[in-house]
């Protein structure tokens, strides 16, 4: 035995993967042939749109590069928006901070230390004005990430801004996420229910959708947040099934209100995930396109082909990104972005390599945009629609995922629909199962994560620039909100809040959007508006 151990490699042993399953547990065969799939496939742009919703897909128009951004005060966020637009982002994706997501102002005690950290702190109409300073709402499309009932306030702020800038509503292009469930599927059921009565928030979501549909023709009334669901650790099939079951509930809700499905269905879009199992993700997205088309046609009897076309925004999944060896995340995000491009999507947010540390720096934000630009302009994959169409493996997998998703959707339907099983805690149980399974998978090595349980660097010196907030950011925001409340004309505020209270208590069937917009105009803050409605329901929030 030599005293000095010799360094060798695993070549002679033969390096092998620990298993040959997809992330959802579907087996990958040794190879696929015509025997696995040999069917007719409709062209891109034809029902059921498996191959894409447009014949020319990216040839006609490249996907939108829509990076999420937002931090600190609206002024700071505005600067980053301008930077992103300058380096080549083609759509705005505005994320609010946790306090705003829960309908709280920055000066609420429990919210003070969280204000502005993970998104923009937005409490007042003037905040929206500051956010869009120097940016024309009719020249760029915007996605506003916020859920009901708070989305009513944000939408109202945006519409008031359009009014102030003299932009007619027909010219506004964009999306309000507006999904009461999935935005907070990351944290638990408890946190989604703790800040506002759930049923009322769903109802206000419908109010917003009903208000917008006839008035703002180019505005998406909903983004089903399949991404957040996937980030909890559930698999591709569950992502597809849960999100489709949820949108089915929403469509039913609007139809119950008397709306014709063809009037709003083409304005419902998704926000999906692109994970790291490349072929499975391509298959999943194609399967979701087909599920949507079939569901709209066969279940909801849509007549207009536009209603049957499934549109989605994509974010590359953050869950597989690691804190260890962060530059590896650039590779991961590239693979995920490629999967999204190959599948066909309307817009992409490529997650930054520093995701495990903080919000993106300008540097990492730019790299995300460049990743998409390189794939678009240099790799040539965007030249033909659905390049993987006809590939035995991908088609087989598309069929498989579609079938499993339909089965799971049936289970959910039988239990009363997604909103019901969500409230019952059934979804929570699936999520908890998935979480523990994920943790176990990493502990056991079944799920390989480079840098975490394989190819680990002993000395892991992480040398990247990390984003830092301005020192006094929170203090300034708190001061701003407190001053705002002191220095405005109090009478109109009181009246509009009283009206909200009365309507919520005594005439709950009223569409709340206009009364909320009135309150925003009267200079009520986000929390004041929400508190009026909370008090009318005797709903207490954590303090």
């Amino acid at each position: 035995m030599s005293s000095k151990a010799e360094v060798g490699s695993t070549y002679l042993e033969g390096e092998r993967l620990p298993n040959f399953k997809s992330l959802s547990g579907i087996d990958y065969k040794e190879y696929y042939t015509k025997a696995d799939w040999n069917k007719e496939l409709a062209d891109p742009g034809q029902y059921p749109y498996t191959r894409g919703i447009h014949r020319d897909m990216y040839r006609g128009r490249l996907w939108t590069r829509r990076q999420q951004s937002g931090f600190g005060s609206p002024e700071e966020s505005n600067k980053r928006l301008k930077y992103l637009l300058a380096v080549g982002e083609t759509g705005i994706n505005m994320d609010v901070d946790v306090a705003t997501k829960y309908g709280l102002d920055a000066d609420y005690p429990l919210a003070q230390a969280d204000a502005g950290l993970q998104g923009t702190s937005m409490s007042t109409y003037e905040d929206m004005r500051a956010l869009y300073d120097g940016i024309a709402p009719d020249k760029v499309s915007s996605t506003l990430i916020i859920q009901p009932p708070f989305s009513a306030v944000t939408m109202a702020q945006y519409l008031l801004l359009a009014n102030e800038r003299g932009v007619p509503w027909e010219k506004l292009i964009g999306t309000i996420m507006n999904c009461s469930v999935t935005q907070n599927v990351g944290p638990t059921l408890q946190s989604n229910m703790a800040w506002f009565p759930f049923d009322l928030s769903v109802k206000i979501g419908y109010d917003i959708m009903e208000y917008i549909t006839p008035r703002i023709p180019r505005w998406n009334i909903l983004n089903i947040n399949a991404y957040n669901m996937r980030e909890t650790g559930v698999d591709a099939v569950q992502e597809a099934a849960f999100s489709m079951a949820l949108v089915s509930d929403y469509i039913k809700g609007l139809v119950r209100r008397g709306l014709d499905v063809d009037s709003f269905a083409h304005r419902m879009a998704f926000f999906s995930c692109a994970h790291i199992d490349l072929f499975e993700e391509v298959a999943k997205l194609r399967a979701m396109r087909r599920i949507w088309a079939r569901m709209l046609k066969e279940k909801f009897h849509a007549k207009n082909p536009r209603s049957m076309t499934w549109r989605t925004a994509i974010q590359t999944a953050a869950l597989p990104l690691t804190a260890q060896q962060p530059l590896n995340n650039i590779v991961r995000a590239t693979i995920q972005t490629l999967a999204a491009v190959l599948a066909g999507t309307q817009s992409i947010h490529t997650t930054g390599y520093d995701e495990a540390y903080s919000l993106p720096t300008e540097e990492s934000h730019k790299l995300s945009v460049r990743t998409q630009q390189i794939i678009a302009y240099e790799s040539r994959v965007a030249c033909s629609s659905d390049p993987l169409g006809g590939c035995y493996l991908v088609e087989r997998l598309t069929d498989e995922i579609e079938e499993r998703a339909w089965d799971l959707m049936k289970v959910i339907e039988e239990k009363g629909g997604f909103l019901q099983v969500y409230k019952d805690g059934w979804v929570e149980e699936r999520i908890n199962e998935a979480r523990y399974k994920y943790g176990d998978g990493i502990e056991s090595g079944d799920l390989t994560v480079v840098g975490v349980n394989k190819f680990v660097d002993e000395e892991d010196d992480v040398n990247i620039n990390i984003f830092r907030h301005a020192e006094d950011m929170q203090a300034k925001r708190i001061e701003y909100v407190q001053n705002y409340k002191k220095t405005r004309d109090q009478e109109p505020v009181k009246r509009s809040l009283q009206k909200l209270y009365d309507l919520t208590k005594n005439k709950p069937e009223t569409n709340m959007f206009e009364p909320i917009m009135e309150a925003v105009k009267a200079k009520a803050t986000l929390q004041e508006i929400c508190d009026a409605m909370r008090q009318a329901c005797n709903f207490e929030i954590p303090r």
Binding site: P109, A113, D114, S191, Q324, Q474
Partner: protein
């Protein structure tokens, strides 16, 4: 004669609703023989300390995902001194950039756990710190 058990309060403070990690850690700690008082979401530091006092805890573990760890760590250390509870071990986990770990230790945090910490590593470091 029962052996003395170590009691640890696990909490999330502020608005962050991501309790995935802390739920998993509370299960690990239970498996490791600790008595874990799990207090869930939306706590203020004052409440966490109140709980630690009533439970006569040996340690407090808080998790952060949103970048608010330094501000809260300072608040905790100040409060622990004010309330004469500085003998409690303060442990912080979550999305903590490595460069902040030294700062946290300097402020007075006894142990910091960053993302991807494996169970055995966590339990052994905890044993060192608390026992």
């Amino acid at each position: 004669m029962t052996m003395t058990k170590k009691k640890i309060i696990l909490a999330k403070v502020g608005l962050d609703g991501h309790d995935n990690g802390i739920r998993i850690v509370s299960k690990w700690l239970m498996d490791g023989g600790y008595e874990v008082v799990y207090t869930g979401l939306y706590n203020t530091p004052e409440r966490v300390l109140q709980i630690a006092l009533e439970e006569n805890a040996d340690a407090i573990g808080v998790s952060f995902l949103g970048g608010e760890h330094v501000a809260y760590a300072r608040r905790f250390v100040t409060l622990l001194k004010e309330k004469e509870m500085a003998h409690l071990k303060l442990i912080i986990g979550g999305v903590i950039p490595p460069v902040d770990v030294a700062e946290l230790n300097r402020i007075g945090v006894h142990a910091v756990f960053t993302p991807g910490t494996r169970r055995d590593a966590l339990l052994s470091k905890l044993k060192e710190t608390v026992c």
